[in-house]
């Protein structure tokens, strides 16, 4: 898809967020509360034990992880019911009579959404948290760049996941239960609540087979310095492989879904 068009739609979606004046204040408070709860829980947990390092995390490291994974998660906010709503009200018909890729239009819409959340929520939450909590991030330009790349790839993975679940609407129309399942899987298996290192042993092989850890966990470990620069590069390689796998699933689902699609209302 032509980049100019992509950016246009990013900006339309961004502006839409601005016009409907998503309640920024509530969003910030809500995000900050999460950060506060998680960091407090970790502090309480760590104070119960004599050892200071658990699963490779010092208290500072785990607090940093909790703050940063939340920051990434908030930046990755996207409306996962877009496709569902377009199928529900039939407006998907209008999009399909345009010479544009449905996947990329969807991605552009998500990006606009996420940019808004990054600016309006992530930024203030990170700044406040750095002052309030014991957060320590290694300052290396290359590391930061690798983190950004890894985030972008991780973001595309999240968008693909939402695309795939959204396409279920072509078969079922009503997909709310799928969205709930997805939300649970995504938040937990991506390391959004607890880093993968803390998962029970029996879960770890399963997690390795799933793409979720490449969405939040790995980009965050790059940022906070748990992954070496060399490891960061292989993380990004693995993420790219997942992009290919998910891309194949997306296009397969799209091909099959097209035949199932019906348009609601005239």
């Amino acid at each position: 898809m032509n980049p100019k068009l992509f950016l246009k739609f990013v900006s339309v979606s961004f502006q839409k967020q601005v016009t409907y004046r998503f309640d920024c204040f509530v969003g910030i408070v809500n995000g900050f509360l999460y950060v506060f709860i998680f960091t407090s829980l970790w502090k309480a947990l760590y104070s119960q034990f004599d050892t200071t390092v658990h699963n490779g995390y010092t208290l500072t490291a785990i607090v940093t992880y909790a703050v940063m994974v939340m920051a990434v998660r908030i930046s990755f906010t996207m409306d996962d019911s877009i496709i569902y709503r377009k199928v529900m009200d039939g407006s998907i018909a209008i999009e399909l009579v345009r010479p544009t890729s449905f996947f990329f239009m969807n991605l552009a819409e998500n990006v606009g959404n996420s940019l808004f959340h990054t600016m309006a929520r992530t930024a203030p939450i990170v700044i406040i948290s750095i002052f309030l909590f014991d957060v320590s991030i290694p300052f290396e330009v290359i590391r930061f760049l690798l983190f950004v790349v890894s985030c972008i790839v991780g973001y595309i993975l999240v968008s693909m996941m939402n695309f795939i679940v959204g396409l279920f609407a072509f078969w079922f129309i009503e997909i709310f239960p799928f969205l709930l399942f997805k939300y649970a899987f995504y938040t937990f298996f991506s390391g959004g609540i607890v880093p993968i290192d803390f998962f029970p042993e029996f879960l770890k092989p399963l997690v390795k087979l799933l793409p979720f850890q490449y969405m939040l966990y790995f980009p965050t470990t790059i940022l906070i310095g748990r992954a070496s620069l060399a490891e960061a590069q292989s993380i990004i390689m693995a993420q790219l492989i997942w992009i290919v796998i998910m891309g194949v699933i997306c296009s397969f689902m799209w091909g099959a879904g097209k035949k199932k699609l019906i348009i609601q209302g005239g």
């Binding site: 032509n2 100019k4 068009l5 246009k8 739609f9 339309v12 502006q15 839409k16 016009t19 409907y20 039939g90 407006s91 018909a93 209008i94 399909l96 009579v97 345009r98 010479p99 544009t100 890729s101 078969w171 079922f172 129309i173 009503e174 709310f176 239960p177 097209k258 035949k259 699609l261 019906i262 348009i263 209302g265 005239g266």
Partner: protein, 343 residues
């Protein structure tokens, strides 16, 4: 090449919908998915037609006849259950994007403009979507503005437009890229007489001047009579008439209507051979007579000799009344067409 002259080619095109009643809620839907007994309706049932470039075709039929479903298949939204279609030589449901670049579509009941944006920005987005150069865009918009009077609407957010204003914008929006083929699904729905007329004039003009092929779906038979040389009538997903609009009258109507105003009411008309009264209103009566077996002079003569007449006129049946008869099955549709496939 003759092939190049064909804008749309449809062969045995069918679309089934699964309307099995699914239970309430999610589990009901899941069950329905695995149930063997399905309720299927055939919305479009093996239709064939060819439309040449530059034609203006009316596509009509009762509610639920399958008009919109056909248009959705030709625009690449729906994938047919069987059969094939080509638009500008492209198979719409296989090459949706390629097809979309060469067609314009208006769905009367939904807008293709961005609800939250001012009209101007919607057009600008469409310009980028359809990769229209700024200069082509400017000249096209100028042309569209002249007929559809868009300038005054440009700054308004789409959600604040009236239905008629929105429809003008939507029609213009479908033409930003000056497509060779235009699909209009009820573009005059809910419009007042004047708005309808201006849109009609505009459509006639682009068909004449630009040679745009237009397929128009409507329930307003005036639209058809004014615009469409050719008429395709659909019934239960099957084509029951495909031919010139004018010819429809000759083929299916063997009756003329006489509108007679008598000097006093209470006249009981009977016993005139071939004549039946279809409507009465005070001194006015509408009579039909069998056009094939009785001459018009003969009938008028007989009436005039028996009753005192104030005024009399002969009405050609409207396309509307003919189509109404077809819908009501008052006219048999053993299509006298030569092309009908022999079994």
């Amino acid at each position: 090449m003759q092939q190049n002259n064909i804008a749309i080619k449809v062969k045995g095109l069918s679309k089934d919908f699964d309307i099995s009643e699914s239970g309430k809620g999610f589990s009901g839907k899941l069950k329905a998915l695995f149930r063997r007994k399905r309720k299927i309706i055939t919305a479009v049932d093996g239709i064939d037609f060819e439309i040449k470039h530059g034609e203006f075709v009316g596509y009509v039929g009762e509610n639920g006849a399958g008009k919109s479903t056909t248009i959705k298949m030709l625009t690449g939204i729906l994938v047919p259950t069987s059969g094939s279609a080509e638009v500008n030589g492209i198979i719409p449901y296989k090459e949706r994007k390629k097809n979309a670049a060469k067609i314009g579509v208006v769905f009367g009941q939904r807008t293709q403009l961005w609800w939250d944006l001012p009209v101007r920005e919607s057009f600008d987005l469409l310009r980028v979507i359809f990769r229209v150069s700024q200069s082509d865009f400017n000249s096209q918009m100028k042309k569209l503005d002249q007929v559809l009077d868009l300038n005054s609407l440009m700054g308004m957010p789409v959600r604040k437009l009236s239905l008629g204003q929105r429809m003008r914008c939507d029609i213009a929006a479908s033409l930003v890229h000056n497509p060779p083929v235009l699909f209009l699904d009820e573009p005059t729905i809910g419009l007042d007489v004047l708005a309808k007329e201006s849109i009609r004039n505009f459509l006639a003009e682009i068909n004449r001047e630009e040679g745009t092929t237009i397929i128009l779906t409507t329930h307003d038979m005036n639209d058809i009579e004014h615009l469409c040389k050719r008429l395709i009538i659909l019934e239960d997903g099957k084509i029951v008439y495909d031919g010139e609009t004018e010819l429809l009258k000759q083929k299916f109507v063997h009756e003329k209507v006489l509108e007679v105003e008598f000097h006093d009411d209470g006249n009981v008309i009977h016993g005139i051979p071939g004549v039946t009264v279809i409507r009465e209103q005070g001194c006015k009566k509408w009579l039909t007579f069998d056009n094939d077996n009785y001459g018009i002079g003969e009938v008028i003569g007989t009436i005039a000799s028996r009753y005192k007449i104030k005024d009399i006129s002969v009405n050609e049946p409207s396309v509307e009344s003919i189509i109404r008869n077809i819908y009501n099955n008052r006219v048999t549709l053993a299509t006298p067409s030569e092309e009908s496939p022999t079994k």
